[in-house]
């Protein structure tokens, strides 16, 4: 009986949920830890990001001058962003979109 006022109120109010994916979710708060991006022009391939990554989501290939990032292994902790000495990494406030296959991203770093 004590729930009755709440139930009556809910009967006439809009749903509390959103119809994702048909409707967009609300904007994340500023500072939300989302996807990691690399600025290849700043990167010096030191490999610190790969060393500190707790999920082994980052790989550096010195021979091919490549930076490999697996967004599906990444736990979005942001440790690499805080560690990166030349500050080449940045973190977006949007989460990785769902995908049909788990694929890593490879970015070539210019000399």
């Amino acid at each position: 009986m004590r729930m009755l006022p709440t139930i009556v109120k809910n009967l006439f109010s809009r749903p509390a949920t959103r119809r994702y994916p048909f409707k967009d979710i609300r904007e994340p708060f500023p500072g939300y830890r989302g996807k990691i991006y690399l600025d290849p022009n700043k990167c010096d391939l030191c490999g610190d990001c790969a060393r500190v990554c707790p999920a082994n989501a980052l790989e550096i290939s010195l021979e091919n001058r490549q930076w490999k990032y697996d967004p599906f292994k990444c736990i979005y902790c942001g440790t690499c962003v805080e560690t990166c000495p030349p500050q080449a990494l940045s973190q977006d406030k949007y989460y990785t979109k769902p995908a049909a296959a788990k694929e890593a991203e490879t970015i070539s770093v210019p000399v």
Partner: protein, 359 residues
């Protein structure tokens, strides 16, 4: 009379996590119970030896999805004690704030599950709607909704500035109002809930002490045991006192959690108000050496960490004892004698977190 053995779990509608209880029944009455655990073992203690001690903060975060912050806090406090690091005062208050946020999250989640187990769907929905505010607070202050990843050895990674503190305060007031208006009256005064919980699964004070029960399970039986009394983090400053009920039944354990929920909200506001200015992170050099224990109060009770370092980047041993593991003997003591239909609610009343206890 012939005895029947009925399996309860590991897959059961009221249990989100897999614990298997073999119930021995005489007619409808439970006379014996045998627990079987080990369905979600993940080998985290071994993994913690393979990771570096800094990477472990993210690993112990993932032991539990609900009290992840407190796991990490216990770990960091242990490593800091090993390395002789003193964290800045502001960090202690921020850790208290997030630990209480986790407790609010956990207790709301549990109260919702209890309502669900009782078949009280509308209360369940209302409580989880209130929980959404807690997750928003977590997202706003740490950047993550569930696993906050804001503790590191030597401090915390995020700060709460004045502007954000005001916003947090507003949301806490809204959350309190929401609980006041919908969930709390139903949980505290509803006749159906009382009929299903009062006098069910009684754990006496002597039993609770003997079986080493912790957390709300022990406090519901009149044992005033709470690690926060030791005053780690900023609990001395925010004025903590344990909440104790004496009846020892499922309802007493519910009451402890409802009261703790309000206490946590008050402590969060207190922590934000009393927080001194200053650094939030200190630089930590060197490697952990020696052994130590670290204890914290989780929503379900005391969590215990044993750490041994050998002066390298890796820990030699990390042993974790979680509150659910300590509460399972108490569960086995209170189940015999109850009706089969009461088993789900009584099992839920110790708030089992199986993922935690199996690590």
């Amino acid at each position: 009379m012939a005895r029947t053995v009925i399996p309860f779990g590991p897959q059961h509608p009221v249990l989100p996590e897999p614990i298997h209880l073999k119930l021995e029944l005489e007619d409808e009455k439970v006379v014996g119970v045998m627990p079987i655990i080990g369905y979600v073992y993940r080998g985290i203690e071994k993994a913690a030896e393979l990771n570096t001690f800094r990477q472990n903060t993210n690993l112990v975060d993932r032991i539990c999805g609900i009290c992840s912050f407190i796991h990490c806090q216990t770990y960091c406090q242990g490593v800091e004690a090993l390395m002789g690091v003193e964290v800045p005062p502001r960090t202690r208050f921020l850790r208290t704030f997030w630990a209480e946020l986790s407790r609010t999250h956990s207790h709301l989640l549990w109260l919702g599950l209890l309502a669900d187990a009782l078949g009280f769907e509308s209360v369940f929905m209302q409580i989880w709607r209130a929980r959404e505010i807690v997750q928003d607070l977590s997202e706003m202050t740490t950047g993550h909704r569930v696993i906050q990843a804001s503790n590191v050895v030597g401090g915390v990674r995020r700060n709460i500035d004045k502007e954000m503190a005001q916003e947090v305060h507003k949301r806490i007031v809204a959350l309190k109002e929401m609980i006041d208006n919908s969930a709390a009256p139903a949980l505290l005064h509803d006749a159906t809930i009382k009929r299903r919980a009062v006098g069910k699964g009684v754990l006496s004070k002597e039993q609770a002490e003997l079986l080493g029960a912790v957390g709300p399970t022990a406090r519901g039986s009149g044992v005033a045991i709470d690690v926060r009394q030791t005053g780690y983090a900023a609990y001395k400053e925010v004025g903590f006192e344990p909440i104790v009920e004496t009846a020892g039944d499922s309802y007493a354990r519910t009451l402890v959690r409802v009261k703790e929920l309000y206490r946590s909200l008050a402590m969060m506001q207190e922590a934000l108000a009393l927080m001194p200015e200053g650094e939030i992170l200190v630089r930590v050099d060197g490697y952990p050496q020696g052994e130590t224990v670290s204890r914290c109060e989780q929503p379900r009770g005391e969590v215990f960490y044993y750490l041994r370092g050998n002066g390298t980047d890796h820990l030699e041993r990390l042993k974790i004892r979680t509150p659910t593991f300590a509460n399972i003997p108490a569960l086995l003591a209170i189940l015999p004698g109850c009706e089969m239909a009461d088993v789900p609610v009584i099992t839920l009343s110790i708030d089992p977190c199986v993922g935690c206890s199996e690590r």
